[in-house]
Symmetry: C2
Subunit: 426 residues, 2 copies
C-alpha cells in the first residue's frame, strides 16, 4: 500500500478517535444547535454545492464508461435536493437522543449498583456510492448519536461530497462541532477502502451503503464489525384462510407501489387450497400494473400463459416489475421455502387464521415478519424511528430497520462503597 494513502487515513482515524471522546460529552441541546447550524450552512452554500455537483455531472458525461440514466439521476443535486438534505438535518434535531439512556439498572446483594447506559459507538466508517446526499444523511445520524465519522464516497461524486462535507464541518464548527468529527477521505481508489477496513485500532464499525459488490469487498477485508445490507428477497404467503381481496391488495401494493427497493415483493407463495380461485384474480390485478409473472408448474396449471419460474427465480431480487409465484402445499412448506430461498429481510402471511399467523411469525427467520401488512412497511420511517441509517440483514447488534438507537453501544457503570472480592487484611 502506498505510504501516503495509508498514513493519511490512519491520521484521520486517530483524529476521529479524539473527536469521538469530545462528541460523547456533548449534551443533546448542544448537538441540536450544531445540527441547525449545519442545515443553515447547507442552504446558504447552495450555489457552491451546485457548482461542485456540475463538475461531477460533467465528468460523468465525458467519461469513457458513461453512467446509466438512473445513476446520473442519483448523482444530480438541485435546489430541491439541497433543501431536502437541510430539512432532513432539522428533522434529526427533533429526534430523541438515545445517548445517556439507562437501559437497565439493578442492585446486587453485596450492595453494588449496576447501570447499563447507552453510549456512542465511537468512530464509524461509511463507504458509499453515487448519491452525494448520503454524505450529509449518514454523517448527521452518526453525529446526533455522538459518533465521529470517516466518509469514503465514490469517485463519481467526489466534488459534491467534498463540498457537502466542507459545508457541514464549517457550519457545524461555528456552533461548536468538535474538529474532525466529520471527515471525508480525499481518495476514491480501492486502496482507501482496504486501508479503512483494516484500521480496527481507530474504527469501531464500518457501514457500507451500496451494491452487493461493495458490501462483499468490505466484508472480505474488514477487521472490525460491518453492518451489512444484502438483498431483500421478500415473500408474501397467501394462506388458505386468507381474505382474497386483502391478499390481492397486499400483493399489488408490495410488488408495485415502488418496485426498485429492498422491501418490495419478489416471490408470491399461494396455498394450494386457494390457488385455483386466487391466482386468476391476483394475476389480473398484477398484469393491469404491467407486472411480468413467472410461475411454478402448479401455478402454470392455472395461469397457462405465464413463463416458467426456474430455480434462479426463487433466489432473485428483481428490483423490477417481475414476480415469481409458487403454489405450496402447506404453511410448513411456505416457511421452509422462505427460510431456504429468502434473504431474511421481510416476509408476510395473509390469513384470517390467527394460529397460522402466529406460527408463521415465530418460524420465519427474517428481520421483519408481517401479518396482513404490505412488505413496503419494512422501513425505519414506517416503524416510527424518525430516521433510518439502513436496514440490516445481519443478526448481530442490529437487525432490520436501524434508527438512532442502533448507532449506540452501552457501558456498565457500577457504583460501590469499597467492595472487594476477597478479604483484604491490612
Amino acid at each position: 500500500m502506498s505510504a501516503s494513502i495509508s498514513d493519511t487515513i490512519h491520521l484521520m482515524g486517530r483524529q476521529a478517535r479524539a473527536a469521538a471522546y469530545r462528541l460523547a460529552q456533548l449534551d443533546s441541546e448542544h448537538k441540536n444547535t450544531i445540527l441547525h447550524a449545519m442545515a443553515a450552512a447547507l442552504r446558504d452554500a447552495s450555489p457552491a454545492l451546485l457548482a461542485a455537483n456540475a463538475l461531477d455531472m460533467a465528468a460523468a458525461s465525458a467519461s469513457v464508461k458513461p453512467l446509466s440514466a438512473a445513476m446520473l439521476d442519483r448523482l444530480r443535486l438541485d435546489e430541491a435536493r439541497i433543501e431536502s438534505m437541510a430539512a432532513g438535518i432539522e428533522q434529526v434535531a427533533t429526534l430523541a437522543d438515545p445517548v445517556g439512556q439507562v437501559i437497565d439498572a439493578w442492585q446486587r446483594p453485596n450492595g453494588l449498583n449496576i447501570q447499563q447506559v447507552r453510549v456512542p459507538i465511537g468512530t464509524i466508517g461509511i463507504i458509499y456510492e453515487s448519491r452525494p446526499n448520503v454524505t450529509a444523511d449518514a454523517a448527521v445520524l452518526c453525529f446526533k448519536t455522538g459518533n465521529a465519522t470517516i466518509l469514503r464516497g465514490g469517485s463519481e461524486a467526489i466534488h459534491s461530497n467534498r463540498a457537502i462535507a466542507e459545508v457541514l464541518q464549517a457550519g457545524g464548527a461555528a456552533a461548536g462541532l468538535p474538529e474532525h468529527a466529520i471527515q471525508l477521505i480525499p481518495f476514491t481508489d480501492r486502496e482507501s477502502v482496504a486501508v479503512l477496513a483494516q484500521m480496527d485500532r481507530w474504527l469501531d464499525l464500518i457501514i457500507p451503503r451500496g451494491g452487493k459488490g461493495l458490501i462483499e469487498t468490505v466484508v472480505s477485508l474488514a477487521r472490525m464489525p460491518v453492518i451489512k445490507h444484502y438483498d431483500g428477497i421478500c415473500h408474501l404467503f397467501v394462506d388458505a384462510a386468507a381474505d382474497a381481496a386483502m391478499a390481492v391488495a397486499l400483493t399489488v401494493d408490495s410488488k408495485t407501489q415502488k418496485c426498485g427497493v429492498c422491501n418490495a415483493l419478489e416471490t408470491l407463495l399461494v396455498h394450494r387450497d386457494i390457488a385455483a380461485s386466487f391466482l386468476p384474480r391476483v394475476a389480473t390485478a398484477l398484469q393491469a400494473k404491467h407486472v411480468e409473472l413467472r410461475g411454478c408448474a402448479a401455478t402454470r396449471a392455472v395461469l397457462a400463459d405465464i413463463a416458467a419460474a426456474t430455480e434462479d427465480d426463487w433466489r432473485s431480487e428483481y428490483l423490477d416489475l417481475i414476480l415469481s409465484i409458487k403454489v405450496v402445499d402447506s404453511l410448513e412448506a411456505a416457511v421452509a421455502h422462505i427460510n431456504e430461498y429468502g434473504s431474511h429481510h421481510t416476509d408476510c402471511i395473509v390469513t384470517a387464521d390467527e394460529a397460522a399467523a402466529g406460527r408463521f411469525l415465530r418460524e420465519v427467520d427474517s428481520a421483519c415478519v408481517f401479518h396482513n401488512v404490505s412488505t413496503r412497511f419494512a422501513d425505519g420511517g414506517e416503524f416510527g424511528f424518525g430516521a433510518e441509517i439502513g436496514i440490516s440483514t445481519d443478526k448481530l447488534h442490529a437487525r432490520g430497520p436501524m434508527g438512532l438507537r442502533e448507532l449506540t453501544s452501552y457501558q456498565y457503570r457500577v457504583r460501590g462503597n469499597g467492595q472487594t472480592k476477597g478479604v483484604v487484611e491490612l
Copy 2:
C-alpha cells in the same frame, strides 16, 4: 483447501442451520429437560470421559513440544471437574430463557402493531483452546438460547472434546435434542478454522475463546461477526479525594485476589495531591503480597527502590504479580491515560467526590467503569447473569460480560389488517 475438510464442515453448517430452526421452536421447559438429561449423561459417562482424557494427557506428555504445567492442568479432567461440568449444566437450566421475550412493543397511527421479540441468533461457531470443559459450557449456553453450535477445539484436547460432545449429543437426544444441534469438527488443523470463518452462509457468529493469536487469526479470516475478547489492561485511579484505606484495599484486591485473569489490575494511577502519603502505604501492602512494582519518575521520587516503568509497561497485560504505577496531575490526565493505553475492559475510580466519580464514569471509554469497587467484579456471575459466555471487548452487539441475553438476536413482528403503503384500486 482440501475438498474433504471443506465439504465436511460445509455439510455440518447446513445441518446446523436446519437444527437451528428446530431449536428455535423448543419451549423453555423442553430445553431444561434436555439440559438435565445432558448433565445426567455426563455423570454416567465419567469413566469414558476420564479414559478419553487420559489419551490426551499421554499425548501431551509424549509430545516433542511439551505443554507447560499450567496448560497440562487446564487439559486435565477428573471426577470433580466432570461433576462441575454437570452441575454447571443444571445451573443453566435454572436460568430464565430470554427467547420469546418482548423487548419493545408499540402501535403506529395507521394501526400497525409492532413487537420487537428476542429470538435465537441461529448458528454459532466456537473456536477454543485447551480446556475441554469449554465443549460443554459453550454448547449448553448456546443451546439454552436456542442456537445450534459448531465446536472446534484444539488438537491437544481432541479425545476429551469428542467424548464430551458425544455424551451431550446422545444424552440430549434421548430427551428430544434435535439432531446436529451440537456438532464438533473432527479436524484440528488450521485449515478447519479458515473454512469455518469463511462459511457465512451457514454460520451467523463466531466466538473465539483463547489467546490473542487465535483471536487475531479468526478476525482476519472471518466473513461473519466475531465477538472478541482481547486484553484486559485494567486501571484503578486513586483520586485526590479518595479514602486512602479503601484505595489500598481495592488496589490489593484488584491486583492480587487472582492475578492471571482479565479483570485483574495492571496499572495504578495516583493523583499527585495524594501521592506522597498514599504511595508508601499502598507499596507496603502490595509488597507484602509479593507484587513487583514499576513506577513513573514521580512515583519513584516517592518509592525510590522500585524499577522504572517503560512505555511498554503502560500497554502490558501482565497477568502476573506485577503492577505499573503512574502519578497523574488530574482526573483529566487519568481519563486520557486510560483511554490511550487501556484495553477498554474495566477501569475504576476511588474517590469520595461524587462529581469526580460521575465525570470518570462518563468519560472513560470502557465496557465496565467502576466507582469504589474492585475491578475483579467485572464478571457475568458478579453482575448476576448466572452464566457467562465471555467478556466482550467489542462495542457492537455485546460489550463487557455476556450472559444468555447476549446470545440472542431479535426480530420485528408486525400485525395489521390489510394496510397498504399506496392506494390500491382493484
